[in-house]
Symmetry: C2
Subunit: 189 residues, 2 copies
C-alpha cells in the first residue's frame, strides 16, 4: 500500500537504529484519515472472504480494527491483555510470549462474543514473530470459529511470524512489509 509506505518513510523513526516506531500516526497519535485508507485496503484484499467479525488485541489494534470494521459492516471484539474486575469470568484464554517484555501474558475474550462457526478476520498493527496471532488463533480454535484471514498494517519481513502463518495456509495480508533495517534505512520487500 503505497500511501502507507510513504508515510512510514516520512514519519517512521528507527530507535536504536533498528526498532521501527510509528507512534506519530499509528500507535500513540492516530491519523484517522490514513486508517480509513488502511480499512479500505483490507476490505479490498479480503473482499472474497465472508467475514462475520473482526478480532484484535489491545491496545494498538483497536483503532485500526474499529475503522476497518466500518468497511466490512461487522462488529469488533478486542482480546484483553489486562485482567479487569468487570470482565466476565467465562472467557477463552491463551498465553502469549512477549519478546519485548520477555514474559508471558494472558489474553482473554468473553465466550459470549465468539460463536461457533463465525468467520473471523484478525487485525493488528504489527506482525513480527507472530506470537500474538498464535494466541488469537488458539482462542478461535477454542471457540470453534473459522479464521478468515489476518490483516496486518506493518509486517517485519525479517522475522518468522508471517512465514510460519502462511505455511499453515493462513491468508495473511500485510500492507507494508519491511526488511531488517540496515544503517538506519527502512526498506520494503
Amino acid at each position: 500500500m503505497e500511501l502507507l509506505k510513504q508515510r512510514i518513510l516520512k514519519d517512521g523513526t528507527l530507535e536504536n537504529g533498528n526498532i521501527l516506531k510509528v507512534d506519530s500516526f499509528l500507535n500513540h497519535q492516530i491519523d484517522v484519515e490514513l486508517l480509513n485508507e488502511v480499512g479500505k485496503e483490507f476490505k479490498r484484499r479480503f473482499s472474497a472472504e465472508k467475514i462475520d467479525k473482526i478480532l484484535t488485541i489491545e491496545t494498538s489494534g483497536i483503532a485500526i480494527a474499529a475503522i476497518t470494521a466500518q468497511y466490512f459492516n461487522v462488529p469488533v471484539v478486542f482480546a484483553r491483555k489486562t485482567d479487569s474486575k468487570n470482565m466476565d469470568r467465562d472467557v477463552y484464554e491463551s498465553s502469549v510470549y512477549s519478546y519485548t517484555k520477555d514474559r508471558n501474558y494472558n489474553i482473554r475474550v468473553s465466550k459470549q462474543y465468539l460463536n461457533e462457526g463465525e468467520n473471523i478476520l484478525l487485525i493488528d498493527d504489527f506482525l513480527a514473530r507472530g506470537k500474538a496471532m498464535e494466541g488469537l488463533i488458539d482462542i478461535l480454535d477454542q471457540a470453534r470459529c473459522n479464521l478468515a484471514g489476518i490483516g496486518i498494517v506493518i509486517e517485519k519481513g525479517f522475522q518468522e511470524g508471517g512465514k510460519l502463518l502462511r505455511e499453515k495456509g493462513v491468508k495473511v495480508e500485510s500492507l507494508a512489509i519491511i526488511e531488517k533495517p540496515v544503517d538506519g534505512n527502512i526498506i520494503f520487500k
Copy 2:
C-alpha cells in the same frame, strides 16, 4: 441520545445489581455502527468549539475516539496506562487513582503530540468520579493546551465527577446519564 439509551436498556447488564456493564457493544465487543452515531452526536454537541485534536485514554476510549475523530477531521492521541519499552521517555505524566483497582496508576502522553495552544476534546466511555479526566486535564495543563470540552458516552450521574467538572466551567457532554441503579433497574436522568 435516545438510540444509545435504548441500547443500554436492551443490552446493558447490571452486575451485582449495580455495576452497569456494556461489554456487548462498547467495552469488549464494539458496535461500530452505534459508535458512528455517537461520533455524529459528539460533533453536533461540540460544533461550536474549535477542536484540533481528540485525547482519550486506553483502552475503552480508543475505538470511540477514533470513530468520533472522523467527524471532526482531527487526529486522536491516547494516553497510555502501561509503561512500554518502545514509548518515548519525554512524556507528560499524571497519577490517577482507580477506585475499581484501589490503587494509583500513571498515565502518559508523549510531549511531541500535544502542542501549546491546541484545543483538545477529551473523549471517554464512562465518567464516574472523574479521576481519569482530572489526570488528562492535568496533562493538558502541563502541555499548555486548551480544554475544549469533554465528551462522555455514559455518565454515572450519582457520582460526583460530572458535577465537579461542570462547576469548574468545563463543557461536559454525556450522551446518557444514569441514576444509581435500584432493584436492578437502569434509570436515565
